[in-house]
């Protein structure tokens, strides 16, 4: 403890009064020493330093000389003033008597001449502290001797007295060299004491603050405060001096290795399972406990659901309090009373999956035993670790795969699907799907470049969105397409050969809009498919008509389509290919009690048959298509004409039109199965399709292989309008479900969209097929303005009608009738 911590001092120089003998060294008052200029410093610094040793006791030694030091140092500052520091202590020459010194330095050997004495430092910042000396040893103090010679000391001599009393000088005499003689006792012994150089043991330079500076005040304050402190220190109970020493033992290196601490996810309800299951229940328990530290809402819900469901013991949540230790022992588990825990614990050798939940803390009575983990043990039925193979085969996984595949494809096909559904295309970095991926038609790709811009100047065109096509269907001919009545995204496509030379096995695929790459269902049939329809009342049932006359009904709900029934065993089954098949919803059948849906088919054997599905397929002939005019010997062989198409009236389900191979269209009624009501003859070749207009009740359309499409009104025996574009047979036609005046037609090499408001002479949109591919079927999408075209290469292309300008008037049925009326008027 040193008072020599840096103290700010004033830079006032205290010019010590000169002693009579000239300047003498002062003892270690740093301040005084340091208050001189650097010149003095250098003087002191040049003093040699000597080591010394101190005894443990605290004696302040001072050396006093009874005479002036021999080495008086004279310090002069610039002005020639003698600024030699004055000694603090100037003992009375008469009183100080050299005494035996207890402390001496090893190298101090001169008998009477104590030249090297050191005083322990006692320091003060200025002479006024002279009475604050203590007897403590200041280990790092500056030591010097003081030789008090001059009688002019800065302060009162009373302090000096005290100073003196401490500073007994002890001089140790060496061994007496000569025996003492009696007369020597009276001798006056002269002792010469000299001063050694000052040894600096600690030199903490003070800070000097000018009196004029801002800090002077604070410095003064601090000094004052410090003086106060020092005044209070001796005798104050607050301060005791104590020596301490920490004994530190010798360090020793030791290697420790602990077992790896198992980490368990906490707070999120994760189930921790032991890596090994050695069958020990305690071990299993110890490792298998859940550390869900939060009772989440769904946790509570789950546990309450499970506890209600498991319900062996009476599930009282408050009764299932159990410590962790209890849980660990299977014995206690039985007594635990938690629902189903007994069962689970008895099979703990197998248990690897436990779902444990913390009960809500609010339910607990104030049994705040936080140290015990209260668990309500509920179990999932104790199953073995789910086999990875089982996972892969589970149904849920298949469903997940399905959804995932659709999600992936949705990403890829997003622009196309969005266009199909009239949704905005997401403009992000992923819309670089090129048209080449989806559209097989190179012509349409050109048009696709401008597809986002709807300009009036752009003529209507078909934009190809994508094609339903996969490996299985490649190379097959599309023979029929049908939408699902309930889910407008599902499409059934029948594949059959274009001609009977093709020997590919028959196929029906159900496609979904959400997956343009792979069909949802694949169904292999016994013979080629020629007609399809989905049932409306049980939407998963699909009726398939085949080339050999068989009609089969399948249920497509499950992954593997199940066969409901077919007509192959029926005695009245068709003998020729079934060309058209439809589910008809009849309010009133001929016998008056038919309600619900029935299946009606038209086939090459000239019958239009109604089938019902009560027990197997039973049929009733609706009509036999007889030849209308005898053709010589043909009439002898067969009087029946193949029926190629039929269509029931949209509003009156007892009237239907039947199209025959000989070119006639017969209007028939379900009530009269013997004769036709009307016959419309206008075609010169087999009529492939006849269809009522969905908007106008009198109008129907027919197409034939004589290159024409005829528009009829049912009261006129001759067609109102005929549409011819190219010299190829028209295979399929369909009215647009959205616009009354629009219909589509498929010729062998092109698809045409006709808009009667725009022109009755030419189709509005014409789309050529790829070379080598013939188009076979056409289907309008019901809710979007898209049209599907099936071709002979096994692909169903989805086109979007673009820039087909339709204004308000187009929606009206009147538009169609206007056309007809005007046409008729012009014909007259």
């Amino acid at each position: 403890m040193s008072y020599t911590a840096a103290k700010t001092r004033k830079t006032t120089l205290r010019a010590p009064a000169r002693g009579g003998a000239g300047g003498v060294m002062t003892s270690g008052v740093l301040r005084v020493n340091r208050s001189t200029t650097t010149k003095t410093r250098s003087v002191y610094a040049s003093a040699s330093r000597k080591s010394f040793s101190l005894a443990a006791d605290s004696k302040v030694l001072l050396k006093s000389s009874t005479q002036a030091a021999k080495h008086a140092v004279q310090v002069l500052d610039e002005t020639g003033k003698d600024v030699a520091p004055r000694p603090l202590y100037q003992p009375d020459p008469g009183t100080a008597a050299p005494k035996q010194g207890k402390i001496f330095t090893p190298n101090d050997t001169t008998g009477g001449n104590v030249s090297d004495f050191f005083t322990t430092g006692f320091l003060t910042s200025n002479a006024s502290f002279g009475d604050l000396f203590t007897r403590s040893i200041l280990g790092s103090s500056v030591f010097s001797r003081s030789i008090a010679e001059s009688d002019e000391i800065e302060d009162a001599s009373s302090k000096r007295d005290r100073f003196m009393c401490i500073t007994d000088v002890r001089v140790r005499k060496d061994d007496v060299k000569e025996p003492m003689r009696k007369d020597m006792l009276d001798q006056v012994v002269r002792l010469y004491l000299t001063e050694t150089e000052t040894l600096w043991l600690l030199d903490v330079p003070p800070n000097f603050v000018s009196v004029d500076s801002e800090e002077a005040e604070t410095v003064r304050e601090r000094n004052r405060a410090y003086q106060e402190l020092c005044k209070n220190r001796p005798g104050n109970d607050k301060y005791t001096d104590r020596a301490m020493q920490t004994l530190s033992g010798a360090p020793k290196t030791k290697e420790v290795q602990s077992e790896r601490v198992g980490m368990v996810d906490a707070g999120d309800g994760t189930i921790a399972r032991p890596p090994i299951n050695n069958g020990s229940p305690a071990f299993t328990m110890a490792l298998t406990f859940i550390t869900a530290t939060m009772a989440t809402t769904w946790d509570i819900y789950d546990s309450s659901c499970n506890s209600v469901g498991a319900g062996e013991a009476a599930p009282t949540p408050s009764a299932t309090k159990s410590d962790l230790e209890k849980v660990e022992s299977p014995r206690a588990a039985e007594g635990g009373g938690s629902p189903a825990s007994a069962a689970s614990h008895s099979t703990t050798s197998n248990t690897s999956l436990l779902l444990q939940n913390l009960p809500p803390l609010s339910e607990r009575p104030a049994s705040a035993s936080c140290s015990t983990i209260e668990m309500e043990v509920t179990t999932v039925p104790a199953i073995d670790e789910p086999n990875p193979e089982l996972i892969l085969l589970s149904d849920k996984f298949k469903m997940d795969l399905l959804v995932m595949e659709r999600a992936v494809l949705a990403n890829i096909f997003q622009p196309k699907l969005a266009a199909y559904r009239h949704l905005p295309v997401l403009k992000d970095c992923w819309t670089s799907v090129t048209a080449a991926d989806c559209c097989p038609d190179p012509d349409v790709q050109q048009l696709q470049l401008a597809d986002e811009v709807k300009t009036e100047s752009l003529s209507p065109f078909l934009e190809c969105l994508w094609t339903f096509r996969c490996d299985i269907t490649a190379g097959r001919n599309i023979s029929c397409m049908a939408w699902n009545k309930k889910n407008p995204d599902l499409l059934a496509v029948g594949y059959g050969p274009l001609d009977s030379n093709d020997k590919k096995p028959a196929l029906v695929c159900c496609w979904s809009i959400k997956n343009p790459v792979w069909p949802e269902r694949i169904l292999h049939c016994q013979s080629d498919v020629t007609a399809l329809d989905f049932c409306a009342s049980s939407p998963s049932q699909l009726a398939v008509g085949m080339c050999d006359g068989t009609i089969a009904v399948y249920d497509m709900k499950s992954a593997e389509a199940t066969h409901v029934s077919d007509s192959s065993n029926s005695p009245h089954k068709h003998t020729g290919p079934v060309w058209e098949l439809k589910w008809i919803n009849q309010e009133k059948g001929p016998s008056g009690d038919d309600r619900g849906e029935t299946l009606v088919s038209a086939s090459s054997d000239g019958r239009i048959t109604k089938w019902s599905l009560q027990k197997g397929l039973e049929c009733v002939d609706l009509m036999k298509l007889k030849k209308t005019k005898a053709r010589g010997e043909f009439s002898l062989i067969s009087r029946q004409v193949p029926g190629l198409s039929f269509d029931f009236h949209p509003s009156d389900s007892s009237i239907y039109l039947a199209a025959t191979e000989e070119g006639n269209i017969h209007k028939c009624s379900c009530f009269y199965s013997e004769q036709f009501q009307e016959t419309y003859g206008g075609h010169n070749g087999p009529v492939y399709k006849v269809t009522w207009s969905p908007f106008s009740p009198d109008v129907f359309l027919s197409c034939s292989s004589d290159w024409t499409i005829q528009l009829w009104r049912q009261d006129l025996m001759t067609p109102v309008l005929g549409f011819t574009s190219t010299q190829s047979a028209v295979h399929d036609i369909m009215w647009s479900p959205k616009w009354p005046t629009v219909f589509g037609a498929v010729k062998e090499r092109r698809v045409e969209i006709w808009d009667l408001r725009a022109s009755i002479l030419d189709p509005t949109i014409v789309n050529e097929a790829k070379p080598g591919v013939t188009l076979t079927r056409l289907l309008f999408a019901t809710q979007t303005d898209c049209v599907l075209v099936g071709d002979s290469d096994g692909g169903v292309s989805v086109y979007r009608l673009k820039s087909l300008t339709m204004d308000e008037g187009a929606e009206h049925v009147k538009a169609l009738q206007d056309v007809i009326v005007s046409t008729l008027a012009s014909q007259l």
Binding site: D268, G269, W298, P388, M404, S432
Partner: protein, 101 residues
């Protein structure tokens, strides 16, 4: 349609970088064990561990809002790709796709 074929089909779609099917349980020492994966093992384990935590959090969120609800599908779209996760009690099905490739 077998599961294998479907997985192959998904894998062959445009931009699909990988399919991972992992066990959902988090063992004490490991992350989920991959049942089937088309990525390398270190990546798989990496994805599995991280996605597990994310799915737990998402599921907890959904159920917290309505305990009768449950998470069925999770899509994480980022600048470079999209991660689609179909979580279940026993497994996670993860597909990473970058459709702009």
């Amino acid at each position: 349609m077998s599961v294998e074929e479907t997985i192959k089909r998904i894998q062959s779609q445009k931009g699909v970088q990988g399919i991972i099917i992992v066990n959902a349980e988090v063992l004490i020492c490991n992350a989920g064990i991959p049942i089937k994966t088309t990525l390398d093992n270190s990546n798989t384990v990496h994805y599995a561990g991280l996605i597990h935590q994310l799915v737990m959090k998402a599921r907890s969120t959904v159920r917290e809002i309505d305990p009768q609800n449950d998470l069925t599908f999770l899509r994480v779209r980022s600048k470079k790709n999209e991660i689609m996760i179909a979580p279940d009690k026993d497994y996670f099905l993860i597909v990473i796709q970058n459709p702009s490739e």
